[in-house]
């Protein structure tokens, strides 16, 4: 659905993108990660044909945005980072108006169902100008989905949402991607969103793709799993550990353990097992996730392609 090879783009004499690679296939939920100013939004604008690029190749839904931008955009739902609306419209009026730009005339029923899905069903009669930031964020998701796109591009979709709102948006995205034909490109700083939703990731930094591939493979390659710090009453027996648990370090009364795969019942059963093996656990703290470690390793340093794209 998206194929970007060695994309280079300059804005006002400054090279913003210096080598972006991205490959998103039907059914993928792709997490595009990178620090502020890394070039994530510019990459999105380039693949929508809103930014002309110097060199490289972009293919979106079989078309080239340099020539077929309008027809590509007809099949793409976009949620930009800044969720702006016409404050004097109501949400249903706005969605109907916006849908028409896609030659799609949503019925009252479709609009009401969409607003219900994003949690704005009871607030539909209010003017958008009276909405909170979180409500506007939900409406932005509805706007991206209203034209029934084949490809969904979301820039920080859960920013400003409470945990319940985040979960609702997650559910919507999972539902959207569930038919296996559509694709989702998710730009976010929230690694938890990527952890939950994405099967592929790309990490970009300073205009370059640093890492790309299947999330599962990448985590497995770097020794995946989750790391915890445990404060113990006494020194434990480190020779008798449950399967999938390894000691990663020891400092004072704190023991750092790497859990490769938590039991299906959740980590609490693992703590019970350790307790039975003599680990007198007094306190448990979750350490940075492996994805976070991966992210930290590949960002914040200016070096050429650290790894070639993993296809």
């Amino acid at each position: 659905m998206i194929n970007i090879e060695n994309l280079r783009l300059t804005i006002e004499g400054k090279e913003i993108l210096k080598g972006i690679d991205m490959h998103l296939r039907p059914g993928d939920t792709y997490g595009l990660l990178g620090p502020n100013g890394a070039g994530k939004s510019t990459t999105i604008f380039a693949l929508l044909g809103l930014r002309a690029f110097e060199s490289g190749r972009i293919g979106v839904l079989g078309g080239n945005p340099a020539n077929d931008a309008v027809s590509i955009r007809r099949s793409v739902g976009v949620m930009p980072e800044k969720a702006g609306f016409y404050d004097w419209m109501t949400a249903p009026d706005y969605l109907k108006w916006y849908g028409r730009l896609y030659d799609f005339v949503p019925t009252e029923k479709v609009v009401a169902k969409m607003l219900e899905k994003v949690g704005l069903g009871t607030e539909a009669h209010r003017l958008v100008g009276t909405y909170s930031r979180g409500m506007k964020q939900r409406l932005a998701v509805a706007r991206a989905l209203i034209s029934r796109p084949k490809l969904l591009i979301l820039d920080e979709p859960t920013n400003g949402l409470d945990p319940k709102g985040r979960r609702e948006i997650h559910d919507l995205l999972v539902e959207f991607a569930s038919d296996g034909k559509a694709g989702v490109l998710l730009c976010t700083h929230l690694l938890d969103d990527v952890d939950r939703l994405c099967n592929r990731i790309g990490i970009i930094d300073n205009g370059r793709t640093r890492l790309e591939g299947s999330l599962g493979d990448l985590l497995a390659e770097q020794g995946g799993g989750q790391r915890y710090r445990l404060r113990l009453e006494t020194d434990p027996d480190t020779t008798n550990l449950p399967a999938g648990v390894a000691i990663a370090g020891h400092e004072g009364g704190w023991w750092c353990v790497q859990v490769q795969a938590a039991p299906s019942e959740g980590p609490s059963s693992l703590w019970g097992e350790l307790w039975r093996r003599g680990w007198k656990i007094m306190e448990i703290r979750s350490e940075a996730s492996s994805l976070e470690e991966l992210y930290m390793r590949y960002t914040g340093q200016d070096r050429p392609h650290a790894r070639e794209a993993v296809l």
Binding site: S71, V76, K82, F85
Partner: protein, 252 residues
């Protein structure tokens, strides 16, 4: 394409008529015309101004107010949308740059149409007793429209190029004030060579001279050809500038 242009134009029109700002503008414009009409009618009653002179002044005022409104709306067209965060969603929709521009321009035309409609009863009130009301309305439509819209297109061009409402408004209103300045269009400078050159290239002066010619002097249409070309060229140049800027607007 026509459908998309219409969808955008309808939004532009509704934004003007339904927003607080649009209503304030229309009320201010009506108040200004009321006060001006009262002043002019009083002058006519006291025989300080003849009826044709009053209609001429009223037509000029409507055109200036129309150009100012077009400058305000044009400045808001891209930069205002950018500042409110609504430009990117528009650009992400399947709309060609020229279609978006055409929708915005149709919105400007609608705003000018509303102003023209609001101004008509006032023109009628001050000019009904004279012979030149019809000519005033006809030439205001023919010459006032390209002049006012030209300033609107220029504002659109600056708005798309700079991405700043303030910069666009400042640039366009400054040019409008220069074009409509009594120093430029007054009789003093007109007597000089520089004044005559400015008069020949200033679309605002061109339209005003036509109003003077047809309303006061009752000259025929054929005498207005060069000025009609001037205002048409002005409109086309401003449209080209708007088209060029709107092809790659500043949105980020």
């Amino acid at each position: 394409m026509m459908n998309t242009i219409w969808i955008i134009a309808r939004k532009e029109g509704a934004q003007m008529l339904r927003s607080q700002r649009g209503m304030i503008w229309l009320l201010t414009f009506s108040g200004l015309l009321s006060a001006f009409s009262l002043l002019l009618v009083s002058n006519t009653e006291l025989s300080l101004l003849d009826n044709a002179q009053v209609v001429y002044m009223m037509a000029g005022t409507v055109m200036a107010a129309g150009a100012l409104l077009a400058a305000i709306l044009g400045s808001d067209a891209y930069a205002g949308e950018k500042e409110r965060g609504t430009l990117v969603p528009l650009l992400c929709a399947p709309i060609a740059p020229n279609t978006l521009l055409a929708g915005k321009i149709l919105g400007l035309l609608t705003a000018w149409g509303v102003m023209f409609a609001v101004a008509t009863p006032y023109l009628w009130a001050v000019g009904a007793s004279g012979q030149n009301l019809g000519a005033a309305l006809f030439y205001l439509a023919l010459f006032g429209t390209p002049v006012a819209l030209g300033f609107g297109y220029l504002a659109v061009a600056l708005s798309a190029r700079t991405g700043s409402v303030l910069a666009s408004l400042l640039g366009t209103v400054t040019l409008l004030m220069l074009a409509a300045s009594p120093l430029v269009i007054g009789p003093g400078l007109r007597g000089t060579a520089v004044g005559r050159i400015l008069d020949a290239i200033n679309p605002f002066a061109g339209a005003l001279n036509t109003f003077d010619s047809v309303i006061i002097d009752s000259d025929p249409f054929s005498a207005q050809t060069s000025r009609l070309i001037l205002v048409t060229v002005w409109l086309v140049l401003c449209l080209l500038a708007a088209r060029r800027s709107a092809a790659r607007p500043d949105f980020q």
